[in-house]
Structures are given as C-alpha cells and as structure tokens.
Symmetry: D2
Subunit: 379 residues, 4 copies
C-alpha cells in the first residue's frame, strides 16, 4: 500500500463531544479514502483520572491536563475544540497562534464578541478552520439540502425548526456549567446554533428576528452544598424570523419538554413542495411535491439510505440505518478527503454568522422588539 502522510490531531475536551470526535477519527478511514492518515495523539481535560480513562477508552496514546501544551505539540496539525462554549475563543486563539488548523464544536462561543475574537484569530493566523455543525452530515439532512438546491420544493417560503429536550425538566437537577451563560451560552445559542445553521443552509441568510425566552426554574441546587445558584440561561425560547430572500420561519429551542430526549425537527415549504425531517427517525425524510399525481396526494417517506443519497453508499445496506455517530464520521471524511486542499465548510465564519443570529435573538428578548442581524454586526 502506498503510504499517506500522517496528520496529528489533538482533542481538547474529553466529554461527550470529545468522545464523538474520537469515534469519528477511528471510523473515518474505513468509510472513505482520505488523503492522509489521521492520528489522534493527545486528549486533554482538567481531571487527571477522568481524562486518563477517556484516553484509554478512546484509544488515544497520550493525555494531558493542560490544553496549551497539547495544542503546541509539533506532531499536532489539527486541534479539535470540544470544551464548553465559553472556553472556545481562548483555545482557538492559542491554536491559531500556534499555526494549527482548528475544528471547533458548536456554538462557536458564548457570545458574539467572543466568536468575533475567534474568527479574527484564524484570519490573522491564516489557518484552516471548520465548525462542527455535524447534522449537515446526516444523510437525511444532506439529502434535504440537495433536494432544496435541486429545486424540488421550488422557492422556499416557510421554514420551522425545533429542538426540544427535557434535560432541564427536573428542577432538582443541580447547577452545572450548562446553567451558566458565560460558560455554556444560552439555550438560544447552544441548541439554537444547530437550528440557525440548518435554516441558513436550507433557506438563506436571516435578516431580522424577534424572540421570547423564559427561565422557569430560576435557581438550582449548588452541588458543592452552598446556597442555591441563580440560573443565567433560558429554559425555553422561540423566535420568528424573516430571511433576506423574503422567506419566513420560526425557531424553537427548549429544554423543559418532558419525554423529548433531543428532538430536532426541520421543515421547509416552498412554492413547489415540502420537505420535513424528524431526528427521532433520522434515516427518513418526508417529501411532498405539487407535481406528484394528485391521485396519490400525500408525502413520500424517503428512506434516506439509497446508494444515490449523500453519505449513504459508504455505510450499510439500504434499510439498515446509521446513527448519530455517522454525522461526525462524515464530517471528518469531508474534511480529510482532500486535506488540506478541500473546502472547510462550514467554517468559523459560518459559526459567527450563526452566533450573530443567536445574539440577535438574545437582544430581542431583552428589548422586546424585532432585531436586525446587521445591528449585531454593528456591535
């Protein structure tokens, strides 16, 4: 076998996202031919025993409790940023300064200002950068995008996207970083980032937005035994949106919807048809077209696994289904198939545009008025 160059990777953060990215690097080479051999060399985290366990579990040879040293290693060319949102900007700045390519988990940051710092850093350093909007790499959502681009629904006029979970439903869940806006970002930013990304991708740029937000459980038990701690993020928010092409839409992101584990839905309605996706059945896509025979009035439930569908042929036989992990694997495949020449898309600039929409929502909640995205860009 002709040998391909190795590509050294550092994963910063060993939690759920660290695990997903580690999984992706293990699997990607067997799903698609890559232009290099990725090697995850090190994973970092603050708690020695936990990060050591993660390294062992994920098959990563080294671990560290100091991310700076990890990202500055000479044998590392790519830094995967998998820590809480509020820490992203600092890590990106350091990695960019060290000349590393950056793959940052979403949301880009816990605020637009921080996100802007991150983007400026990568621009200044001239490094490659990408952002982890992994759902773009689910077969069904990628097929949805392709059908939109192919004109299957005509001009998109309406969209609605929701993300409903119940992770905050139990008021006795103690305070942690997800309840701290500076570290975790708002629910608008954390869950909303995916919704805004998908809407931008499918529909167009957001022009203005109005939002509402509520925190029903306003303080949480201190796990350290201190007095209750004020929650600084929203339990539930929703927004109306106008896109620059005249389409209208809505977003809803809520963490208090009992027995919704993490239910993402996306629908677009265009002049010629409708497309709808429900993450709970992630290998399916619904499509209805005005040009379908009216005697067959209804929608098609597409099994988004046909070899002709995006990301399908490389996985399993039609009907067997992929899961969450596949989106991360496909992300690595897209990144490394032609590395370093391929398009890094979406990248941190996309992340910043998404962040601007989220910040516009936050401002709208505070000001109780429609906010134009240009207002956020203006500072």
């Amino acid at each position: 076998m002709p040998s391909r160059p190795e590509l050294g990777v550092a994963i910063v953060g060993y939690g759920g996202m660290g695990k997903a990215h580690a999984y992706a690097y293990r699997v990607a080479p067997m799903i698609r031919p890559l232009s290099c051999e990725p090697r995850v060399r090190v994973i970092t985290g603050r708690t020695p025993v936990a990060v050591e366990g993660a390294a062992r579990a994920y098959g990563i040879p080294e671990w560290s409790t100091t991310w700076r040293s990890a990202i500055e290693r000479d044998d590392v060319q790519v830094v995967e940023v998998c820590t809480p949102p509020g820490t992203h900007a600092e890590i990106i700045e350091a990695a960019a300064a060290a000349g590393k390519a950056i793959v940052c988990e979403k949301p880009l940051a816990a605020s637009y200002a921080d996100g802007l710092r991150a983007v400026q850093a990568v621009h200044h350093a001239g490094v490659l950068h990408a952002i982890g909007f992994n759902y773009r790499r689910l077969p069904a959502l990628a097929l949805m995008k392709r059908l939109v681009d192919d004109g299957a629904v005509g001009q998109v006029q309406l969209s609605r996207t929701t993300w409903l979970t119940d992770e905050f439903s139990d008021p006795s869940v103690p305070f942690d970083w997800r309840f701290d806006r500076r570290l975790g970002g708002t629910t608008i930013a954390d869950l909303g980032a995916h919704l805004v990304d998908l809407a931008r991708w499918m529909v167009g740029e957001v022009e203005e937005i109005v939002a509402q937000s509520e925190t029903f459980v306003r303080q949480r038990v201190d796990p350290a035994g201190g007095p209750a701690i004020a929650v600084t993020v929203d339990d539930a928010s929703s927004a109306l949106v106008r896109f620059d092409n005249g389409a209208r839409g809505s977003f809803e992101m809520a963490r208090i919807c009992v027995r919704h584990p993490c239910d993402l839905t996306v629908e677009v309605n265009g002049t010629e048809g409708s497309l709808a996706f429900d993450y709970a059945r992630l290998n399916e896509l619904w499509f209805g077209s005005r040009s379908d025979e009216s005697a067959l009035y209804g929608m098609r439930r597409i099994r988004a696994e046909h070899p002709s569908h995006p990301y399908a042929a490389q996985w399993w036989p039609l009907g067997q289904g992929v899961g969450y992990g596949s989106s991360f694997v496909n992300q690595v495949c897209d990144l490394l198939e032609h590395w370093p020449d391929g398009p890094c898309s979406p990248n941190l600039e996309d992340g910043l545009r998404v962040q601007a929409v989220c910040e516009a929502m936050e401002r709208s909640v505070e000001s109780k008025r429609w906010v134009r995205i240009t207002e956020v860009h203006a500072g």
Copy 2:
C-alpha cells in the same frame, strides 16, 4: 315512548359548514339522549338551484334564498350561522333581535369590531349563544383537555399549535371570498381562531403576542374575467405568545404548505409531562410523563377511544375510529342534552376573546411590535 319537545333549527349557509351542521343534527339523537327533538326546518343560501340541492341532499324540508325570513320563522328556535365570517355579525344581530338562540361558526367575525357588535346583540337580546369551535369535541382533544385539567402534565409552561394547509399553494387558483379579508377574514383569524381557542382552553388567557405575516401571491385571477384582483389576506403567519399565567407558546397558520391538507397540531409541555395531538391521526393522543418509569422512557400513543374517554362510549368499538363529522355531532349533543338549561360553552364571548387575540396578531404584524390583548379591548 314519551315525547320530547321539538326544537326548530334554521341553517344559514349551505356550504361545507352547512353540510357539517346538517349532518350533526341528523346523527346527534342516536348518539346521546337529548332533551328535545331537533328539526332542521330550513336552510338558506343565495343561489336557488344550489340551496335547493343542498336541502334535498341534507333532508331538510324547506329552503330559502333570504336568510332573514328563515330566521324569523315562528317554528325556528335556533339559528346556525354557517356563512363566511364577514357576514356573521349582521345575521347574529338579526337572529338575536328575533329572539333566537344562535350557534355561530368560527371565526366569530372578520374583525374584532364586528365580533363585538355580535356579542352586544346577544347580550342585549338575552338569547342563548354558542360558537362552533368543533375541535373541542374531538375525543382526542377533549381527552387532552381532561388530562391537562387533571394535572397530568402539571403546570403548562409551553405550547405550540399549527395549522398547515396547501389550499393557497397553487397561484393559479382564482380569487374568491377566502382571499378577501372583509368577507373571509385573514388567515390569522380563520385558521388561527381554532389555534387560539385550543390554546386558551388548554393553557390560559393570552396576555401579549408578536406576529409576522406574509402574502406571497399578491393577486389572483378574476374568475369573472376582469383584471387580477389584489389578495387582502395572508398566505402564512406565525406568532409568539405569552399567557397570563407565565406560559409561553407559538401559533402558526399557513395555507401554502404543499401536501399538508389541513394539518392541525397541538402540543403542551408542563412541569410534569407532555401531551401532543396531530389531526392527521385524529384518534390518537401522545402523552409522556415524568412519573413514568424511566426504564420505559418515551411517550404513550393513547388510542383515544376507550369507553372511559370523552365522547367515546357513545360511538364505535375501541379502535374503529371516528372522523371529522363526530366533532359536530358531539357539539349538538352537548348543546341539546339539557337544552335550554345546559351550559352553552364555548359561546360568542369566547369567540370574541379569540377574535381579540387574532386582531392583536394582525396589529402586531402591522406595527412590528408586541401587542397586549388589552390594547385590542381598548379599541
């Protein structure tokens, strides 16, 4: 058999709603014992041949092209108003002046001002009045309401309701009264009336609202061959809402969603559980509870036909299912079971409160700001 008093009914309007109401009067007596024998004596409409055909089809002995004479008949005690919304107020005023009980189709009127006239008329005359929010009488939605009232979901915190159709999707559909705001009311008012009614019923009174609206097809062919006619209603609208009890919610009503025939969905999320309804599967109700065993994490698909469920025991065996018509039949049963002593609920005042919310949405669209419902009441 002991005889029950006859109750004379006039149906004003012979279209889809006239048919549904006629069906309801035929079937109601066999579904539940009524305190009277309803007799639909006359149906009215403007086109002789059409109204005659309707009378024959619906088994109604007389027909008329003048609604005034019909509602003033001595042998008529109840007037069913089944005409386009913009005509309701005038008919209600006349029926009330003639001392007749009134059952009005939704929405109450094409404007809040007209709705107010109608309510003042029935108050002044002291007649019984009811409004046709028929979906309250679907078994699954009635069960949903009962479960909410029984505390099955705790305190409702979020709701979302949508009504998606494709009746306006085809831009070549010619102009008719549905596109004329004065006669048909806006889509906000026409489809939204059901959504607002269900939300008021399940969640509470709306306090303030912000909405957006769009008309994508701005003019339609004149069926009479004249120049294209401007459309004065919205194709699609949506709203964010705050209820007076602190709950948050959203409404969406759209007539340009291809291959959505008339898809009504309602979901509420409370502190203890979630309930969801999808009209496309109208005999089902989804319920998830925090108190369910976590090892059975998920939602229950309730077959809302158990004899213990509302409106179920009188119909068919469990699992056989009812359709749209049953909601109208149940409405007549509720009205006439203890006539004239029973509660007439919802009534025109409910219709007016709904209209106020719809008008607040319309004002919000124009002013691009949150509108409090009290502003509408203030004129």
Copy 3:
C-alpha cells in the same frame, strides 16, 4: 322536490351492528343521491327494555321482540340481519321466503353448511341479497383495490392480512355468545371473514390453505353463577394460503393481543409495487412503486381523502378524515343509489365463498394438513 319511492327497512338485532346500520340509513341520503327514500320502520331484539331504548336512540318508530313478524311486514322491503352469526341462516330463510331483500352482516353463518342454506334460500326466492363486508367501503381500502386493479403494483405475488384485538385477553371476562362456536362462530370465521374477503377482493380466489389455532383460556366464568363453561372458539389462529393465480399469503386473527383494540392490516406486494393499509390510521394508504425514482426510494403515505379517491368527494374536506361509520354509510349508498337495479356486491355468494375458506382453515386445524377449498365445497 320530486318525490322518490320509500323503501321500508327492518333491522334485526339492536347491538353494535344494529346501531351501525341504523346510523348508515340516517346519513346515507345526505352523502349521495339515492333512488329511493329509505325508512327504517322497525328494529327487533329479545329484551324489550333494551330494544325499546335502541329504537328510541336510533330514531326508529317501532320495535319488536319477534323478528319474524317484523320481517313479514308489508311495509318492509329490506331486512338487515345484525344478529350473532349462528342465527343468520334461519333469519335469511324466513326473510327470503317472505320475498324480502336481505343485507346480512358478516360472517354469513357460523358454519359453511348454514351459509349454504342461506344462499340456497335467496336463490330459491330470487330476492336481492348483499353481505356486510363494510371495510370494502372505507376510502383507503377502496383506493387500494382501485390501485391494484389499475395495475399499480403489477401482478400481486404476496399478501398478508391480520386482525389483532385484545377482547379475550382478560381471562376473567365471563362467558358470552362470542365464546360459543355455534352462536358466534370461530375467531377464524368472525374476524377472518373480513381478512378473507379483502384478500379475495385484492388478490384472487384462495385455492388451498393450512392453519393453526389455539385456545389459551379454555373455560370462562358462567355469568349466571353456574360452573365454568367450556370455550368452543379459538383465541388466536393463523394461516398460510395459496391463491389460484399462484400468489401466496397469510392470515392472522387473534383476540389476545394486549393493547390492540381492533387492528386490521392489509398488505399486498406485486411485481411492480407494494400497497399497505393499517386500520389504526384509516385515512391513509401506503404505496411504493418500482417506477418511482430510486433517488426518492421509499413509500408514499397517501392521504386517502382526495376528491379523486373513492368515497371521498362526498364527505369532508381533504385531511379532515372519516371514521368507521362512513363504511356503513357508503355501503347503503352503493346499495340504494340505483336500487333495485344496481349491483348488490358483495353478496351472500361472496359470503359463502369466504365461509368456505374459513371452514377450510378450521378443517386444516383439526387435520393438521393443507386443505383445498374445493374439499369444503364437496362437503
């Protein structure tokens, strides 16, 4: 209005089926123009107070505890047989002898021999006759049949039909006529009749069959307080079947499937496509075709309510849905649209052919071998 001749109807049996047939006669005239005015003149049953109550509820002017006198009335032209299966033959013989047209509920009888008597009686008398395979008149199943006939699935090669209920699941349910084979027929005959009818209709004549059967709860409490009574019907049965055109299929009918209220499913797979129906979503039909674009691989969920669909245009707007009752109404409409000239289909001969297949299943259970339907016809 020009007057149409009246058609007098007697309903024998006031239970669930009596109610469904009474409902059908009330509603049919408003759904479709009929060639006559049906008048249900009398309903019969054994328990005076119950049948009187039923007459009142169903709006039938007279009632009787002797079915013979009712069916012999001069003002009755049609007899609807809605009693337990074991009683059908005797009633049909009497009605035929009296020269009445007969509409018999399914199954035709509790045994093939009895069914044969019934068919011979109507042949001898030369009266019109029909059998109540009402599911043929559900819009979605009628659409399925039309699509099969139109070649949408090519040559049917496979079929599977099931009817799962839980009515016998609770072993403490006391003995009643449904557990008595002579009166209620087997589960094979009672539930299976619909399955066999639909398979004959969609696929073709059954040629041979092999079946299994089990009664898990072998005796039931005597509601009169006597000793436990032996159950003589099956709790659950299933069969493999070969059709005369070479297609293969299966039937399953079971009354011990917890939380299945009355779940009827029908699927056919042909050389060109598949069609599937699930009664739990009775307004839907699933269709997949080999000629669909492979890039849209999947099935269509047809909303079987389009005005172009069978039985749809006369009911409600697309998307609103019909229920169980509509099948009975459509049955009366089909019968009376051109009465007495129209085709009575399916008729008692169809009922007898179905009965032969059911009896073949029963014989196969006893003999543990494949049974040809011609063996049953041979006696």
Copy 4:
C-alpha cells in the same frame, strides 16, 4: 496505562459482513473496557485487487487470497467467518483444527448437515465459538428480550416476525451466489435465520412448523453471457409455528416486497402485554401492558436509548440514536469484555438449532405437511 494482552483476529471475507466486523473491532474498545486489545491482522478474499482495497479501507495491515494460511497464523487467535453460507463449514473445520476461536456469520451453513459438521468440529477441537446473530445486540431488541424475561408481557402466547426486502424484485438482476442454494442457502435460511433466532430467544424452542415457499422468477441472466441460470432459492416463504411451551407464531421472509429495503419486524403478545419492534425505527420499542391504566389505553413508544437500557449508556446521549453498526460493535464488546472467560452466546450450537428450524421449513415446503424439529435432528 496498564497494558492488556493483544488478541489477533483474521477476517475471512471482505464483503458487507467483513466490513461490518472490521468496523466493530475498530470501535469496540472505545465503547466498553475489554479484557484484551483486539488487532485485526489479516483479511482474506479471492480477488486480489478487491481484498487489498478492503484491507486498506478497513485499516487492516495484511491481506491474503488464501484463507487457510490466514487462519493458521500464529498471531491469530480468533477467526471471523464472513463468507457466503455454503463455505462456512469448511472454514470452521479448518479454523477449529488450527485451534482458533470462531465467530461465524449467520446462517451457520447452507444446510443442516453442513452446520452439524461445523458444530462437531468446534466440539472436537474444544475451541470457543460464537455466531453473529447481531440483532440481539441492538438496544431495542435487547430491551425487548429483557422485558420479556422480566415478565412484562407475562407468558408469551403469540409471536410474529417478518423480514421483507426487495433485493430480488427486479427480474433483470443477474444471477449471483445469492440465487444459488448451495452457496447462499435458501431465503428461508438466510433471512429466516435471524427470525428464528429472535423467536427462540424471546419465545422458546420451536417444536413443529409448516411452511410455504415460492420462486416467482425462476431463472436469471448469466452475468457471464451464458444461457439463463436456474434460481435454486425461494423468493418468498412463510411459516406457522408451534413452540414447545404452547405458544404459536409465524415467520415470513421475502425478497420481492417492493420498497421494503430490509424491514425486520418482531412482535410478541403475552398474557400481560405486547411488545413490538420495527427495524425501520430501530431506536424504538413499542410496549403495551394490561396493567397500564385503561384510561391511557394504548402502547408506549419507548426510546430505547435510556442509560438504563441495554447497550445504551456507552453510546450517545438519549435521543441521538445508533445504527446498524452498533449491533456488531456490541457483539465484539460482549465477546471480549471478559475474554476468554465470558459466555460466548449465542454460539454455533444456537446456530445449529436455528438451522434445524430452517431445514424443517424447507422440508415442510417439499412435503406440504407439518414437520417436527426432532425429525431434522434425526436426520
């Protein structure tokens, strides 16, 4: 990190199954702590260029076109048999003779006689052995099994399992080994193996069975350009079954069901409840219980990803979903967690028992009678 012993693996066969097993070995160590470090050392196949490509894609350092040399390597302790069924016995005999542990894909063989040879070989050699009934390791099916074992449905009385695909629907698909019974086994054996395994696991041992079978497309184009080749396997088969505990059930396996990609369904009905699984929604399990409140009559849609569910905690957050690949990964985890001390279950003996049931079906098709499984064991 303390080091674990390496475990050398050879994968025989590089097609779809070879890929799935290679994937499983890559991912397993990061999903669960294993008692050893698996190293896939070699993969084999007949076509050099293809097997070399597979080795590269799957990250396997060596490849070979001679399976014998591969399985005899000193650095190989486990042989994964991923070739067509008709080749299994010979490979197993050789691997057992070489003292290797064996993991064989299903079905065990293309005939009972061959399967018996394979089992005798592993018994004689005293090697560890397992069979790849991977669906037992899907979270939802493992949860179903747990609920059955926990008595959630009481005594199982009925089961039905189906596997519907359309891989043989197109008559122009040319002949390949899947159409050759000696190499691929019948459809009864190939698809049925999973069905029989799941039924044995959930319900109990099969005692007797009756089956039917049909080959609609009797010959296929020779891809080498010769005359059409006779197909020696069935397109579609189905069976009725009696279990030794008195339960009844059915199997259906068909490859001519248009727009069914590979739809596996399993349902059991017991004295206390029902459980149902549909592979098309593989992260869900349906459960209805007699002890559920009747006012909530229906079934629960369990999201089979709760951390308390089998195989769930190690994967992704609740609601994100796993795919087909996870079943293979979990299979490796189960095998290697306590290697070599852990239970190898199911093993080749289970495979042989399944094969006996499949062979009984084949004999029943030929003899048109019920066949007892003991007849197959008797030879």
